[in-house]
């Protein structure tokens, strides 16, 4: 150490921070300055490879880092000052925590000499973020910065990923220390000691799969996180096993694959949920049996054996008791499992195709009531808008190069139902926390990471107003992001629940909005309002090919509902269907 000291430059803490970020391969930081982080901002000019994106609210900085991470699988970085800057990060960190997204958040902190004295803009951010980060650090000395930051990166991306916060006092940023990137290397990552995929368990899984007559794969976010998309598909194809997806697993398998069923759970199509309820074997891959996908637990898939492949041991038997648990990285586990399945074993024959036939038959039944088959009746439905945006991208051959970023609400569920995702990491959405205001900033993160891709924001009129200030960031960063506001004049998902459960008492769900096209124009962003279905595709093309940001204000049917819907407490197969005679869907006399 003493020898190498001469070779290692002495830097300030803030320079050490930025040099460490650069060493970790970081080229973009989303952030907002303030007193306690000013030394870092002062040092930025010495690190030209790091581009700083100035946001309009720190919550957005966290969502941008999140969108960046979801689009690439790499760690996203955000930065904020102490006190209010740090507390503004909270919702973004919680969003990333719930969806297992690797981000590193850097916050400035008051000087270590005044820590604990309620100094100006002092807040205990490591205390506040304890339950919403995978881990956090308080760093009070320049010598500790490189190690803490490198450890933060390792923790964020290893095992089940998640957000990590590093809080650095101002005096640590200002002090000097020797910088040695390699010496700051964290100890080798320690896998969770309870990972287990024993050969006996794998053998049990093999037997269950071979004996199953009605198996279903439940594909979750872990499929994408593990990069196991092809392995899962290969297993499904070899044994003709249909695949149902969670919201975050929707882009794990191509939607147009014959074995792909689509979204399961609260707003899953009836054939998907029925298949799960009737299954005799569930293969849960990288998913956590969230209440949005199980419905009433006591009635969940009552006759099936369950195999759970999951990297987080604390998820095993949490909500649903499983028969075989294979705890580990999905890709690794499948590499052990799949060879045993194919070695001299017959793929499931007639029985297998019988099961698929059964599912397809119920699918045929359900789709006659599907809004998507409704002829143009002069109304504009959100489902049609989303379908047509998909259609436009597909026709242009851009599906593999398109990322959809949704907000939270009805439009999010319609997106999940009607946008047929083809490629992994093509859907970015807040699943676990359901954070309104997520879409616009997350899209900025995604577009920054993938400038060559078409990025569409699909956002409600409510959620858009939560983070609309980031329109300014889009312009400042010259990002050609397409924004589809699904404008129904309501906090639609709240209104739908009030319709279904609260006797149509629309308390605080109608929402006034500015003219979004004018709002965009005020930022120098072009836009258009669309009222007719026929105008959807031409405008989608216009937006996609303009090479600039473009906002489309879709004035859709105000009181439309997402169907099917599972009411709270109901079982997965007890779905509320779209009413047979939905007045909304009636055709004008002259048609």
């Amino acid at each position: 150490m003493a020898d190498s000291n001469n070779a290692n430059p002495t830097l300030t803490g803030s320079e050490i921070l930025l040099a460490t970020l650069a060493g970790e391969g970081i080229t973009t930081v989303f952030g907002y300055p303030g007193g306690a982080i000013l030394p870092v901002y002062d040092s930025l000019r010495k690190f030209p490879t790091i581009h700083h994106v100035l946001v309009r609210h720190e919550q957005s900085a966290a969502h941008m880092a999140d969108g960046y991470a979801r689009a690439t699988g790499r760690v996203g970085v955000c930065m904020a000052t102490s006190g209010p800057g740090a507390t503004n990060l909270v919702t973004g960190l919680a969003t990333a925590m719930m969806d297992s997204i690797p981000i590193v958040a850097i916050t400035g902190q008051v000087s270590s000499k005044v820590l604990g004295t309620d100094a100006f803009q002092e807040i205990d951010i490591t205390g506040i973020t304890l339950p919403i980060t995978k881990h956090n650090f308080l760093v009070t000395r320049a010598e500790q910065i490189a190690t803490a930051v490198r450890e933060a990166f390792q923790i964020a991306r290893s095992g089940r990923p998640g957000p990590v916060l590093v809080d650095i006092t101002k005096d640590a940023q200002q002090a000097t220390a020797a910088f040695d990137f390699d010496a700051a290397r964290p100890r080798p990552y320690r896998p969770h000691p309870m990972l287990r995929a024993e050969s006996s368990s794998i053998q049990e899984a093999v037997t269950l799969i071979q004996q199953a007559k009605r198996p279903v794969i439940l594909a979750g976010h872990g499929v994408v996180e593990s990069g196991a998309e092809t392995q899962v598909l290969a297993l499904a194809e070899a044994h003709q096993i249909p695949i149902a997806s969670t919201l975050l697993g929707l882009d794990a398998v191509p939607a147009n694959h014959p074995l792909s069923l689509g979204l399961m759970g609260m707003h899953g199509e009836s054939w998907v949920n029925h298949a799960i309820q009737q299954a005799d074997l569930l293969l849960a891959f990288g998913m956590r049996f969230d209440d949005r996908v199980t419905g009433n637990l006591s009635k969940y898939s009552p006759n099936s054996k369950k195999i759970h492949v999951e990297i987080d041991p604390s998820e095993i038997n949490k909500n649903v008791w499983v028969d075989v648990a294979l705890i580990g990285d999905l890709k690794e586990v499948l590499s052990l499992l799949t060879p045993l399945l194919s070695a001299g074993n017959q793929p499931r024959g007639a029985d297998g195709s019988e099961w698929l036939k059964q599912i397809r038959a119920s699918k045929g039944n359900a789709s006659v009531r599907d809004i998507i088959n409704l002829p143009d009746n002069g109304h504009l439905y959100a489902a049609h808008v989303i379908h047509d945006i998909w259609h436009e991208a597909a026709a242009a051959g851009r599906l593999d190069q398109t990322i959809i970023v949704t907000d939270v609400g009805q439009h999010q569920m319609w997106e999940a139902q009607y946008f047929k995702h083809q490629a992994p990491r093509s859907l970015i959405t807040s699943g676990g926390l359901g954070t309104m205001g997520f879409a616009l900033p997350a899209a900025i993160g995604a577009k920054t990471a993938c400038p060559e891709k078409d990025v569409w924001v699909i956002v409600g009129d409510g959620g858009f107003q939560m983070t609309a200030a980031e329109l300014s960031t889009i312009v400042q960063e010259k990002l050609a992001i397409n924004i589809a506001v699904i404008n129904n004049g309501f906090l639609g998902m709240v209104r739908q629940w009030q319709e279904a459960i609260y006797d149509k008492n629309y308390s605080a769900s109608p929402i006034l909005s500015p003219d979004f096209v004018l709002l965009a124009a005020a930022h120098g962003i072009a836009g258009a309002t669309v009222r007719k279905r026929a105008d959807v595709i031409p405008h989608a093309t216009l937006a996609r090919t303009s090479g600039k940001p473009f906002l489309i204000n879709f004035l859709v049917e105000k009181e439309d509902g997402v169907y099917p819907m599972i009411a709270p407490g109901s079982a997965l197969h007890e779905m509320l269907r779209r009413p047979q005679h939905d007045p909304l869907l009636e055709l004008p006399e002259d048609l």
Partner: protein
């Protein structure tokens, strides 16, 4: 039911908060929690007793391991571990007490039966110190109460636990300590217990 976990954690500021916060998050009540130094440098040892559903043990252990500051977690039950608690009891024992001047000698007798020690004598009170299982401590407190003594103060440390034997301890395994070469010394090998007495955790080694 009561679960007892022994956790080795990094000896750093904030680690106790992380553990305590975890139980709060899981909505599980901590019955007792003791922390102190262990045989390893920079490593604290915690014994956590909590009241949770019988199936909760796996999830608690797995969640404890998810804390980056956790080194190892072992779940122990009565059959395989020595569980002890330290208790200080201050009893009123002055001339004005119901038993008057006899109270002191009677308390001495009771203390002897329960193997408690007298550690302080004051004109109006006696302080007893006792180490033992929770039930033994509760026994002494009960007898004192039923004999008409007024208990002025009680301070209990909460349980500490340590596996019997040592070549099978998962704690030591986690530390990479080699098992001893002379197994006959260790009669109480928990791994040799009938399986229904070992950990109920089906995912365990």
């Amino acid at each position: 039911m009561l679960h007892t976990f022994v956790a080795l954690v990094q000896d750093r500021p904030g680690v106790l908060t992380r553990v305590a916060s975890l139980f709060r998050r899981l909505n599980i009540n901590i019955v007792s929690l003791t922390v102190g130094e262990s045989e390893r440098p920079d490593t604290s040892r915690m014994t956590i007793v909590c009241d949770a559903h019988e199936n909760a043990a796996h999830r608690i252990r797995a969640s404890l391991y998810k804390l980056e500051t956790t080194i190892s977690v072992d779940e122990v039950n009565r059959t395989e571990a020595v569980v002890r608690e330290l208790c200080l009891i201050k009893v009123a024992a002055g001339p004005n007490q119901p038993h008057g001047l006899h109270s002191r000698s009677q308390i001495f007798e009771l203390a002897q039966v329960f193997r408690a020690r007298v550690v302080d004598l004051a004109p109006e009170s006696i302080m007893l110190e006792m180490t033992g299982s929770a039930s033994k401590i509760e026994g002494l407190l009960q007898v004192l109460g039923e004999s008409g003594y007024s208990i002025l103060e009680v301070s209990r440390t909460g349980r500490m636990a340590m596996r019997r034997g040592h070549h099978t301890s998962r704690v030591l395994q986690a530390l990479g300590t080699r098992p001893t070469l002379n197994p006959s010394v260790f009669a109480e090998d928990p791994d040799a217990l009938p399986s229904d007495q070992t950990l109920p955790n089906i995912f365990d080694e």
